[in-house]
C-alpha cells in the first residue's frame, strides 16, 4: 500500500516534469517555437533531406566583429546539380541571430520581414555566389549564422539529378577593446528572469520541505513525505485548495513584480537600452497578464476558498472536486503563457492583445498563440470557479442567514463571481477565435478578408471591464470586514453597501466601452458609456463614505490590518478621483494610453486590490495558520510599502499629462529640434525606478513575517480580533470539515446564525408574495412525476 503511494506520487511528479521539459524543447529552434519553415526543415521546396555534396561557404567574416561595423560578405556554394547552362543555378537563405543585413545589388533581398534574414531574389537564382553587407550589432554577444544553400537543376521539376541543399552554421565572436572600452557581456534579461524564477521556485520548494519537516521532525522520510505531497496534489478540501491558490498567487505576484522591475530599470533613464524593444514588449505583456490573471485572481480565489464556506457556515464548497479542477487549470495555464518567453518569442501584445496585431503572423511573436492557449485554460478555470461559488453561496448558507445577513466579504465574492462568470465567456470566445486564427487560419481578425479588429476590442472589454471590478470588489469586502472589526462596530449602512456593490456589478457591463473612446467605436455607444462610467462613481462614493462613517463613534484599534485598510482608503480614493478624468471623453483623448492611465489603474489595482489583500493576509492569517503575526514587522511593512508605493505611482500622473506614452520602450526629452517631455521627466523616472525597487523589497518584510510567525508566532485564539461572522467560531486553524458532522446522509451540528436586530414581521408585499410562490415549499419535497 505504501509503495503504491510513493509510485503514484513519483508518477505525478514525472508527468509534471515531462511537461516542464517540453518548454525548453521548443526553444532549441533558432527562432523559437514554430520558427519559419526554412530554419527548421531546410529548403523544403527542394528536397526533404540535405545533401553533403553541396558545400556552402561564406567569405568575408572577420576573426571577431567590431560593434556596429559593416562587413561585406560573400555567400557561395559548390557541388550539386547546378552547372552552367541551367536555366537557374540555385539560391540561399542566411539567418543571423543579431545585426542587420543589407542587400548590395538586385540579387539579394531581406527575407521574412526581418533584417536578420536575407535570401536571393528571383534574378539571384541564376548565380552560385552572392554579395551582401552585414552590420554588426552594438552588443557584445556572439552572433550565430545559419546558411542554407540549394543547388538546382533549373528545370523547375524534380527530374534528372534532383535539386539538393545543405546547411552551414557559423558563430562569430565580438571583439572587445577596439572601440575603446571593454564591454562585458550584456546580461541577458531572460536569463536573469529565468534565474530569478528558478531561485524563487527553489525557495518555495525548500519552504515546503521545511514546513513538512516541522510538522513532524522525527518522521521525515520518503514514506511519509509521498502521501503528504500526494495529499496536496489531490486535495478537494476548500482550505487546502485555498492555501494552494494563495501560494500560487503570491509566487506570481513576485514574478510579476520582478518583471515590473525590469521595466523600471529600462525606463530609469531616457534612451536606455537595458532591454531590447523586443524584450521590453514581452515584459510588459507578461507583467500585465501575470498580475491580473495569475496573481490577483488566485489571491482572490485563495481567500474566497478559505473564507466563504467558513463565513456562511458550510462544511465545504458545493462541488469540491470541480474546485480542485479550477485550481489545477491555473498553473498549467500559467505554464503555457510563460512557454514562449524563454525562447525569446513570448507574447508581445500587451495584456489587452489587440487585434489585428495579435493575429499578425509576421511581426507578432509565436508566443501569442500560447498566450491565448493559456488564457483559454484560465477562462475554463474561472467558469468552474464561478459555478462553484455562485452555487455554494446561493444554496449552502447556514440556517438563519438570509441574503441580507451574509458577511460583506461573502457578498463581494458573490458579486465578483457573478460578474466574472457572465463576462468571461465573451473573452473565452474571443481567445478561441484568436487561437484558431493563429493556428488553423480562420479569418475572424484578418482585415484583408473583412475581419473587424473592433470585434476583439468589444469582446475583450465586455469581459475586461467587469474583470477589473472583479479584482477590486473582493477588496471592498475585505475592507468592510476589517474596518468594522477594528472599529468594533458593525458596518455602517450594510444594506446600502450591498446595493452599491450589486450596482457596480450591473453597471460594469454597460461601461466597458470607455476603454474604446478613441478606437473608432460608434459615437452613440461612446456617449452611453461616458454617462454610465461617470455614474460608477456614485456607488463607489457610497462605499467610501460608509466606511468612513463606520469609524464614527467606534473605538478604533490600530492593528496592522487596520493600517492597511486606512491606507486603502487613501489610495483608493485618489485612484477613484483620477478615474473621474477618463469618462470625460474630451480629456480622455489626451489622457488615454498615457502614464496618467498607468498611474490611475495602479492606484486602484495596487492601492486597492493589493492593499486590500495585504489587509486580508494580516486579518485572516491567524485563522488560517493558528499563529499570530508579528505586529511590529507588520507596521514596518506598512510604512515602507505605503511610502515607496506612492513614490512609484504618484509622479506618473504628471508624466502622463506631460505626454509620456504607455507601453513605450523609452521616452524623449525635449531638445532644440523638437519638444516632448521636459527635462524633469528624466529625474522623475529615475525616482520612480528607485521607489519601485524599495516597494518590491519592502514586501519581503511581509513574506519574512509570514514565515517567522508560522514557525514561532504565538498561538492564535479562535477569535483574535473580535469579529462576529462564523469563521471566528471554529478553532484556528479550522478542522475538517469546518463545521458539522456527516452521518448516514445527514449533516449534524451545522451552525445557526442569530440576529441581534428585532425584526418587525409584516405582511409580505406583492413582489415578495409572488417570489415566495416561485420557491419550493418545504413540504413539496416529493418530486412530481413527469
Amino acid at each position: 500500500m505504501k509503495m503504491n503511494n510513493s509510485s503514484r506520487a513519483i508518477a505525478a511528479l514525472a508527468v509534471m516534469a515531462g511537461v516542464l521539459l517540453l518548454a525548453p524543447l521548443v526553444s532549441s529552434l533558432p527562432t523559437g517555437i514554430g520558427g519559419s519553415s526554412i530554419q527548421t526543415a531546410g529548403c523544403n521546396c527542394h528536397n526533404g533531406v540535405s545533401d553533403s555534396s553541396v558545400v556552402a561557404d561564406i567569405q568575408g567574416f572577420p576573426e571577431q566583429y567590431n560593434a556596429s561595423e559593416t562587413y561585406s560578405l560573400s555567400v557561395s556554394f559548390t557541388g550539386g546539380p547546378a552547372q552552367a547552362g541551367n536555366a537557374n543555378l540555385g539560391g540561399f537563405n542566411l539567418w543571423a541571430s543579431d545585426g542587420v543585413f543589407s542587400p548590395t545589388d538586385g540579387l539579394t533581398q531581406l527575407w521574412g520581414g526581418s533584417v536578420t534574414e536575407i535570401a536571393h531574389t528571383e534574378a539571384g537564382n541564376d548565380y552560385t555566389s552572392w554579395a551582401l553587407d552585414w552590420t554588426a550589432p552594438e552588443s557584445g554577444k556572439d552572433v550565430d549564422f545559419i546558411l542554407h544553400v540549394n543547388s538546382v537543376n533549373g528545370d523547375g521539376v524534380q527530374t534528372g539529378q534532383i535539386d539538393q541543399w545543405n546547411r552551414a552554421d557559423y558563430t562569430l565572436q565580438s571583439s572587445f577593446g577596439v572601440i575603446g572600452d571593454v564591454i562585458p557581456e550584456a546580461p541577458e534579461p531572460f536569463v536573469v528572469l529565468a534565474t530569478l524564477i528558478l531561485i524563487t521556485l527553489a525557495l518555495v520548494a525548500i519552504t515546503i520541505l521545511y514546513g513538512f519537516y516541522r510538522s513532524d521532525p522525527d518522521g521525515f522520510s520518503w514514506e511519509t513525505f509521498s502521501p503528504w505531497i500526494a495529499d496536496w496534489l489531490t486535495t478537494t478540501d476548500h482550505k487546502k485548495i485555498g492555501t494552494l491558490y494563495f501560494l500560487a498567487g503570491l509566487f506570481f505576484l513576485g514574478i510579476g513584480g520582478i518583471m515590473a522591475l525590469f521595466i523600471r530599470v529600462q525606463l530609469a533613464t531616457p534612451g536606455n537600452d537595458f532591454l531590447t524593444q523586443d524584450q521590453y514588449n514581452q515584459f510588459f505583456t507578461l507583467h500585465g497578464t501575470t498580475m491580473i490573471f495569475l496573481a490577483a485572481m488566485p489571491l482572490i480565489n485563495g481567500f474566497a476558498n478559505w473564507m466563504v464556506p467558513l463565513q456562511i457556515g458550510a462544511p465545504d464548497l458545493a462541488m469540491p472536486r470541480l474546485n480542485a479542477m479550477s485550481f489545477w487549470l491555473q498553473p498549467v495555464g500559467a505554464l503555457l503563457i510563460f512557454t514562449g518567453v524563454f525562447s525569446g518569442q513570448g507574447a508581445d501584445t500587451g495584456w489587452t492583445g489587440y487585434a489585428p496585431y495579435v493575429v499578425d503572423m509576421v511581426n507578432g511573436h509565436d508566443g501569442n498563440t500560447f498566450w491565448a492557449a493559456g488564457q483559454i485554460m484560465l477562462v475554463a478555470s474561472s467558469t468552474l470557479t464561478g459555478v462553484n461559488f455562485l452555487t455554494t453561496i446561493a444554496v449552502m448558507r447556514a440556517e438563519g442567514m438570509g441574503w441580507m445577513q451574509m458577511p460583506l466579504f461573502t457578498w463581494s465574492i458573490l458579486v465578483a463571481n457573478l460578474m466574472l462568470f457572465l463576462s468571461i465567456p465573451a473573452f473565452g470566445v474571443g481567445l478561441i477565435q484568436v487561437y484558431l486564427d493563429r493556428v488553423v487560419g480562420t479569418a475572424f481578425y484578418d482585415v484583408g478578408a473583412g475581419g473587424d479588429p473592433l470585434l476583439w476590442s468589444h469582446l475583450f472589454w465586455y469581459f475586461g471591464h467587469p474583470e477589473v471590478y472583479v479584482v477590486i470588489v473582493p477588496a471592498f469586502g475585505v475592507i468592510s470586514e476589517v474596518l468594522a472589526t477594528s472599529s468594533r462596530r458593525s458596518i455602517f449602512g450594510y444594506r446600502s453597501m450591498v446595493f452599491a456593490m450589486a450596482g457596480i456589478g450591473v453597471v460594469a457591463f454597460i461601461v466597458y466601452g470607455h476603454h474604446m473612446f478613441t478606437s473608432g467605436m460608434s459615437p452613440v455607444l461612446r456617449f452611453v458609456t461616458m454617462v454610465t462610467t461617470m455614474l460608477v462613481a456614485v456607488p463607489t462614493g457610497i462605499k467610501i463614505f460608509n466606511w468612513l462613517k463606520t469609524m464614527h463613534g467606534g473605538s478604533l484599534v490600530y492593528r496592522t490590518h487596520t493600517l492597511w485598510a486606512l491606507g486603502f482608503l487613501v489610495t483608493f480614493t485618489l485612484g477613484g478621483i483620477s478615474g473621474m478624468f477618463f469618462p470625460s471623453i474630451a480629456m480622455d483623448t489626451h489622457l488615454h494610453e498615457s502614464y496618467f492611465v498607468v498611474a490611475h489603474f495602479h492606484y486602484v489595482l495596487v492601492g486597492g486590490t493589493v492593499f486590500g489583500f495585504f489587509a486580508a493576509i494580516y486579518y485572516w492569517y491567524p485563522k488560517m495558520t493558528g499563529r499570530m503575526m508579528d505586529e511590529r514587522l507588520g507596521t514596518l511593512h506598512f510604512l515602507t510599502a505605503f511610502i515607496s508605493y506612492n513614490g512609484v505611482f504618484w509622479p506618473m500622473h504628471r508624466l502622463g499629462v506631460w505626454g509620456m506614452a504607455r507601453r513605450h520602450h523609452t521616452y524623449f526629452i525635449s531638445t532644440d529640434d523638437f519638444s516632448n517631455l521636459p527635462p524633469e521627466a528624466a529625474d522623475w523616472n529615475l525616482f520612480i525606478s528607485v521607489s519601485a525597487f524599495l516597494f518590491f523589497l519592502s514586501n519581503f518584510i511581509m513574506v519574512a513575517n509570514m514565515v517567522i510567525s508560522y514557525l514561532r508566532g504565538s498561538e492564535a485564539p479562535a477569535d483574535p480580533w473580535g469579529g462576529w461572522s462564523f469563521e471566528w467560531m471554529t478553532a484556528s486553524p479550522p478542522p475538517t470539515p469546518s463545521f458539522g458532522r456527516y452521518e448516514d446522509g445527514v449533516w449534524y451540528d451545522l451552525p445557526k446564525l442569530r440576529d441581534a436586530n428585532e425584526h418587525v414581521t409584516s405582511e409580505p408585499g406583492r413582489f415578495a408574495r409572488w417570489f415566495n410562490r416561485l420557491m419550493v415549499p418545504d413540504d413539496g419535497n416529493e418530486e412530481v412525476t413527469h
Binding site: 524593444q277 445577513q405 462596530r489 444594506r495 473608432g520 468612513l548 473621474m580 499629462v657 467560531m729 441581534a756
Partner: protein, 284 residues
Amino acid sequence: MRVRLFPSLGDRMAGITPLFDNLWNEYIIWSFLVGGFTFIWLYHHSLWYKSEEGEDWDNKDGIEVGVFPKHYDNFTLEIAWTVLPFFLIVYLALISWGPLDAIWSSAEADGGYGDQCASGELSNMTWSESEGRYVAECYHIIYVEAYQWGWNFDCLEVTVPDLCEVGTAVIDGTPAASLTLKQGEVYLAAMGSADVTHAPWFVSWGVKEDVLYSQGSMDLNGDGLSDNLALTENGDYALSGSIGELGLMTVWLPADNVENFLLLCTEYCGDNHAYMLAQINVHA
C-alpha cells in the same frame, strides 16, 4: 483665452488642448474639494476614535460571534451621499458633454469649422468666448497614414506649401516624416493604417485616435498606393472617396500655437512601437 488655474503646473501641461483647459481646471477643483473632504474626515475619525488594544470599549452594536450585529445605519445620510454625488456627477457629465461637439463634428456635419476650404483659402481660426472653443471659416483636409513603424503624410488638395508641407526630419538620430502646418488654420486629418491598429497622439493638441487597418488601406487595385488615395490630373493625390465611405478615422487639428512637437504612436503595434515618430511643426 486659455485660463490656467495652476500656472506653474499649467505651463507644463501643454498637453491639454485649450478646448479642454477649462474642463481640466474644473475637474481639478472638484478633485481637491472631494479629496480634501474625504481625507479630512478620514484623518479626523481615525485619530479621534482611536483606542488601544485591551482598553474597555462600548459594544454598541452587540458584536458577538455567530450573531448578526445590530444594524448601524441612517437612511437620511445614506440617501444624502447617494444624491449629492449624483448631482455632482450630472454636473460633470454636462460640462464634459459640451466639448464633444468640437471633437465629433465630422466633415459631413457642420461642427463650427465651416466647410472644406477652397484652394488657397484661409481658415481664420478664432477663439469663441461664448462657445468656449475655436471656430473657423473653413478647414483643410490632410491625410495621415500609419504603418509599421512610421508615418506618411499627404497634403492632398492643400497645394499651398505655406499651409501644409511634408518633409523629413531627423529625430534621435533616425530619419522620420515631418509635417509643417500654419498657425491659425484648422485641419481635419483623415487617417488610415497600412497594417495593424495605430494611434497618432498629437500631444500638444491633446488628441489621439486609433487608426484601423481597413479594406481601403490596402492596395487592391495594384497601383502601388493605398486605395484611400487616387492620383488626380495635376499629379497630386486626393482621397478616392468620401471619408465615411473609406472608413477613415478623423481628428480635428486646430493649430493654435507656433510649436514643434513629436507625434507618437499610442496603440501598441509591434517591435518598434516606441520609435514610431514624426515631427509636427507649426509655423507663424
